[in-house]
């Protein structure tokens, strides 16, 4: 029985394993290998092994550490808010009420538009004489030049990210919430448990896998943000919005030094892996093997 189910399992997965090997694994291994060479796509025949030189160069570059710091700030400043907001929105639009679909669609809307267009729109919103400042002026509040001031540029991009991502993770939480059997709530209500008790004792624990998913995936994505920075600030002002991937792009990619770019990418990869592992330990602890 055991071997039968295992064989079936492998069979079910096989075509995908091939596709994954070709289009997922190979590029991954290739760029990992490239990080130990001086590979440049314009002259692939001149590739030479350089050992850890690319990694050393990245780690000795103050610009890399500055980018790392910006990226860390970004992640720490958005993940908690996005997670809380998307969970809150999901809880708000899960029960049946009139117009629920309108709200679901409305909150999801920001995710529908391409990130480049969204960034362009926000760039205009954040302009010195743009929409946001017009509103602030009406309320007699200060109107900084958001994207031109090193102190407000990154927070501005962070706010946009929370705004854009909340609706997206909301639907993931929605699916997770729907997977919780109704009768658990009914039984709890019979036992006299109030709303908050039901949330902490039923919803949260059963939502753990989904919560872990949202945390891990959102962290990975946030560690890699690039498009918003590229469109809105080009990494400025004074390098305050340069993230690791933007740094990678500017330093190595535009100079066609893929070896150097890959080294930076794999340093980021190690960081992502570490963070994901920590998150899995902290949140995913309760994965009893149910198979």
């Amino acid at each position: 029985m055991r071997t039968h189910s295992r064989a079936t399992a492998w069979f079910l997965a096989s075509p995908w394993v091939v596709a994954f090997a070709l289009f997922g694994l190979y590029p991954f291994v290739f760029s990992l290998g490239a990080s130990f060479t001086n590979y440049t796509p314009l002259a692939p025949d001149a590739t030479r092994f350089v050992g850890l030189a690319n990694y050393a160069r990245a780690l000795h570059d103050p610009a890399f550490w500055s980018a790392l710091r910006n990226t860390a700030l970004f992640v720490l400043g958005t993940i908690p808010f996005t997670t809380a907001a998307s969970l809150g929105l999901a809880l708000a639009v899960q029960p049946a009420f009139r117009g629920r679909t309108l709200f679901r669609v409305g909150f999801f809307l920001p995710s529908v538009v391409s990130i480049v267009v969204l960034s362009l729109v926000f760039k205009g919103l954040y302009a010195s004489n743009g929409g946001l400042n017009s509103v602030l002026a009406l309320m007699h509040l200060p109107t900084p030049a958001w994207l031109q001031d090193p102190r407000t540029a990154l927070p501005g991009i962070m706010a946009m990210d929370v705004w854009a991502a909340s609706g997206y993770y909301m639907i993931i939480f929605l699916a997770g919430l729907e997977g919780i059997p109704r009768d658990l709530y009914d039984a709890a209500r019979l036992d006299g448990a109030g709303g908050w008790a039901r949330f902490t004792h039923i919803t949260l624990p059963l939502l753990r896998p989904t919560l872990l998913f949202v945390l891990v995936v959102n962290t990975i994505r946030s560690l890699q943000i690039f498009a918003e920075v590229f469109v809105m600030t080009r990494g400025g002002p004074l390098g305050s919005t340069t993230t690791v991937v933007y740094h990678l792009y500017e330093q190595a990619f535009s100079r066609f030094q893929l070896g150097e770019a890959s080294a930076i990418a794999y340093l980021l990869f190690l960081l992502s892996l570490g963070l994901a592992w920590v998150q899995m330990k902290a949140v995913g602890a309760q994965e009893e093997s149910r198979g």
Binding site: H4, Y26, G106, F107, V216
Partner: protein, 283 residues
């Protein structure tokens, strides 16, 4: 298994009072979220406003940008390409995610944790670095400049697999075990017991696969040369970008049009997320 209609199980919509309360604090939130979208539409009907929202709101509105969009007939082609490719990618993604996610979630392979980590790990490398090797693979397989180049590399997505895997770990296993006792084969268990329970998460996988693929720019740009194979984001960029500036009205009109199919897909699929209501009721 008889299909129980959802309407028979769900109580009638609540009184307006409760709904009204919800509207009170959700509506302003919604308005704030929609504002930038409103900006986009406003700019699309005010080509003379450049990228100034206030000018767009006041000035005369005309839909000429939308007309221009479809004038050359290319937009229609790009839309069709995007649609065709996205649908196929969604189907492949949903199927892969369901199968592989289920297998991983039920720990059917040795070292499952390791495989899962490995699959998730591929998400951790920025795609700019994967661009060249992917191109090389496609070149060697002679798949460049074809629909296959737009579909195959994206047929298997770690995101969907991971999502389904997580969902499956929290799914009660009793139904499947009961079916096994009844003598069902693995495939039958998967198809008839597990799959219906996976509807909510597969709906999400479908939505997100569609969305990611629909807005995908860099890879379709690099892997496809011929104009007749182009997808929407690339086509739109070609039509609205010049070396030093952006044709705002045109770009916003194109983006608004580009958002519509995703919205349709979302509205259609988000009802599927509701079907989980049945999962508990079956007991």
């Amino acid at each position: 298994m008889s299909e129980v209609r959802e309407e028979e199980l769900v109580p009638p919509p609540p009184a307006w009072g409760m709904s009204a309360r919800r509207w009170l604090w959700l509506a302003p939130l919604l308005a704030a979220m929609l504002l930038p979208f409103l900006w986009m539409v406003a700019l699309s009907v005010s080509p003379q406003a450049g990228n100034s929202f206030t000018k767009a709101l006041e000035g005369p509105w005309d839909f000429s940008q939308y007309r221009t969009l479809f004038e050359t007939g290319k937009m229609g082609r790009y839309l069709l390409n995007s649609l065709g490719v996205a649908i196929i990618v969604v189907v492949l993604n949903v199927v892969t995610a369901a199968m592989v996610g289920y297998v991983l979630g039920r720990k059917r392979v040795p070292g499952e944790r390791f495989w899962t980590m490995g699959i998730v790990a591929t998400l951790m490398v920025p795609k700019q670095t994967l661009m060249i090797p992917l191109y090389l693979v496609l070149a060697r397989l002679h798949l460049l400049d074809s629909y296959a180049a737009l579909i195959l590399p994206f047929a298997v997505d770690a995101f969907g697999i991971f999502l389904v895997r997580q969902y499956v770990t929290q799914l009660p296993i009793e139904l499947e075990e009961a079916a096994r006792v009844d003598g069902a084969t693995d495939w039958q268990i998967f198809r008839e017991v597990a799959l219906p329970l996976l509807k909510p998460v597969l709906a999400v996988v479908a939505i997100q696969a569609f969305l990611t693929n629909w807005n995908s720019f860099l890879f379709p740009l690099i892997f496809v040369d011929s104009d007749h194979l182009r997808t929407l984001p690339v086509g739109l960029a070609l039509m609205s970008q010049t070396e030093h500036s952006v044709d705002w009205g045109f770009l916003m009109a194109g983006s608004t049009v580009a958002s519509l199919p995703v919205l349709v897909v979302f509205v259609a699929f988000q009802r599927q997320i509701l079907s989980g209501l049945l999962a508990g009721a079956e007991k």
